[in-house]
Amino acid sequence: MLALIPLLPFVGFLVNSTLGRRLPKSVSGGLASLAMVLSFLVAASSVWQLVGMNPAERAVEQTLYTWIASGDFTVDVAFRLDPLSAVMLLVITGIGSLIHIYSTAYMHDEGDSEFARYFSYLNLFAAFMLVLVLGASFPVMFVGWEGVGLCSYLLIGFWFKKKSAADAGKKAFVVNRIGDYAFILGMLALFARFGTLDFQTIAARVGAMPVETGFGIISIATLLLFVGATGKSAQIPLYTWLPDAMEGPTPVSALIHAATMVTAGVYMIGRNAVLFSHAPETMGIVAVIGAATALMAGTIGLVQNDIKRVLAYSTVSQLGLMFLAMGVGAFGAGIFHLYTHAFFKALLFLGSGAVIHALHGEQDIRNMGGLRKFLPVTYWTFVIGSLALAGFPGLAGFFSKDEVLFETFAHGHTLLWVMGALTSLLTATYMGRLVFLTFWGERRSASAKATVDKHDAPGHSAHDAHGHSGHGDTHGAPHDAPPAMAFVLVVLAIGSVLAGYIGVPHALGGHNQLATWLAPSFAAPAVAGGEVAEAAEGAGGAEAGGEEALELTLMAVSSGIAIAGIAVACFIWVMRRELAASMATSFAPIHRLLLNKYYVDEIYDASVVHPLSAVSREGLWKVVDIGLIDGAVNGVASIVDGSAAALRRLQTGSVRTYASSIFVGVVLVLGYYLWR
């Protein structure tokens, strides 16, 4: 039953990858979407079955077969469905199916084979992602982990004819390799410590141990795992690949680089909550890194001009918030934010996709504006998404982000709370900027200009330009998303409004179902059912009566922050447009610094890439390869050559000579035996 969930998309992948090029678009696209929808239904049904169970032992295990069996170390290919993976499951399959549907419209101008290739990748990604989520042990999870990395590489570089896309793909792949390397080391460390890689067993054994003080083996292991997570989830220091990943098709950015894959790191920490919570050192690092990433990415996002890049940086910063939550031990809050974020960030990306679609590949917000009246649906859904992201009261983002911040504060990390608050301010601001610049004001660029530079840049027209290029009416006004896309946008918009209400905090009279639901996943399986509820309280945030007041105030503060941010944005980019430019000039250094993303890429180039390539060229290539390896090979060859030249004299070609030599041997051997 569980196996079916990843299997369905995989079948879709098989079909599309083998005979997709022969199928018409409607069939291949429909097939892929159908696979996703089906697997969503299966997932929903199995989750429903999970709901029916007693909270204490909510889990469904399915072991397919034994994958590795060496000595006492065995790894089963086993899937485990528990509250945590259930949430992820629904997010992935649900949003995945929506994005599949969206893509059928968005990618419609691709050639048949390209179209099929796209959908086969997408399906493959979904399959791997589901394996990642469902895997009951590290190795199985790692299979999914690597698989999604591969698919993200393939999809970022989907338009591999465009150099920037290919490079971005490579960058993502390489950066992920670094993380994965650490991840493997972490797994090995865990194996060395616990002798197993099964989540439940590890959690049980750790749960039995005291919380580690100081920097011990568990801290090292978890830290390594976290490094892997930073690779996957684009945290400092390994976040640089995500903005470049925007070279991929927009739906891909929505699915992989906003909703699902990048949250794998968060999920991984949540999955090993017990483990991490036994390594306070690591937790601290996680929290700090998360907060730092959040703030930094927010600042960068403030000045970016590419609509997708802005969203990308906002994704990074939101992920930072999630890690912050994880770091302070509020696993429930982190997952909650992950879950809501999936909705509105997907919505935003798809909305931006619709915009780009309408403008035939224009991505620079400076060339947009005034699209409100052309793209009503896109506009409204986009606004909703932005508000949700900004944490406008009553929308999904509000509840989750607010809970994250509250937990941070409640766990006494005031400084981190300040950073988080700043981040949300920034978030509100740049989202406001995005909306205002894109949809308000007057058209700053005739679509003529857009089309012109589209046609000048074949890269564009060949790739992200999908609207109606080739039709005669490119000069006409941009018009709204086709029904399939519009439908998806609306659905997601509704989602981003309502998604938050399963996590309404007690302070607002709700009772945080999600936290309660998730609690068992974060508790050591050893503890009996009775304490699970208590653990749930702990995870969901220890709401004592006194804290409600605090929570309410914080809530007010953060909503105030959100509104303030939006107000600022409105003030700068709507009322006093020139102010932006003047600020940019007056704070030129900062502006330049932000615009160049703190020169991080350059720093990496200088500090890592160049030395590495230099060492490889001068050392490995010229010395090791040419000197040692080639030398050895050639040496052997020359030895053989010389000896052959000598022995050649015996090769007379006269059979009788050979026969006589044989006879010499015979006579000698026989003589030896006779002499003895």
């Binding site: 004299r649 015996l650 009788r656 000579t657 006589s660 006579v667 003589g671 006779l674």
Partner: protein, 177 residues
């Protein structure tokens, strides 16, 4: 007594005929002589209570392999050996080498004779220790061949197949498809 006589007759036939095989230059006669020597050997096999081997000797060697030789000799129709000195540039290609080889052969004979001399228990009659029935039964032979030596048997069948293909490929003229 008749057995002894027949033994010496057959052995003499085999040895003399073999000597004549290499003793003269006409391959045609060589083939005929070899057939004669095979006949002698077949007789010896019968004396050794191996009638089946004897018949196989006649059928396979005399009846098939030798006919093949005969066929080739007639096909090439090169009755006389060509004594031309072909390529003598290489020291090891001198005819002396061949003589050394012959010397070695005689040396081998000496060694083997010595070995026979040294070995014990060979003076006993061939059939003394065991009775003929044990070795002359074709049924037992077949059982052993197909049970104990089944694998070798299959292997030889493959060998034959390969040899057949090889012969066809080798003997084909260039340009023939």
């Amino acid at each position: 007594m008749p057995e002894t006589l027949s033994f010496y007759a057959l052995a003499g036939l085999a040895v003399v005929a073999s000597a004549l095989v290499i003793g003269q230059r006409n391959p045609m006669y060589s083939v005929m002589m070899l057939i004669a020597s095979f006949a002698g050997l077949a007789g010896l096999y019968i004396l050794l209570d191996a009638p089946f081997v004897a018949m196989a000797q006649i059928i396979i060697y005399a009846g098939a392999i030798m006919v093949l030789f005969l066929f080739v000799v007639m096909l090439l129709n090169a009755p006389q050996e060509d004594g031309a000195d072909w390529d003598r540039t290489h020291p090891l290609r001198r005819p002396g080498v061949a003589r050394v080889g012959a010397l070695l052969a005689t040396l081998l004979v000496v060694q083997l004779a010595w070995a026979l001399n040294a070995a014990t228990g060979l003076s006993a009659g061939v059939g003394e220790r065991t009775d003929a029935a044990t070795v002359s039964s074709i049924r037992a032979l077949g059982r052993m061949l197909f049970n104990d030596h089944g694998f070798a048997f299959e292997a030889t069948s493959i060998l034959i197949l390969v040899a057949m293909v090889g012969a066809v490929v080798l003997a084909r003229r260039e340009g023939e498809s």
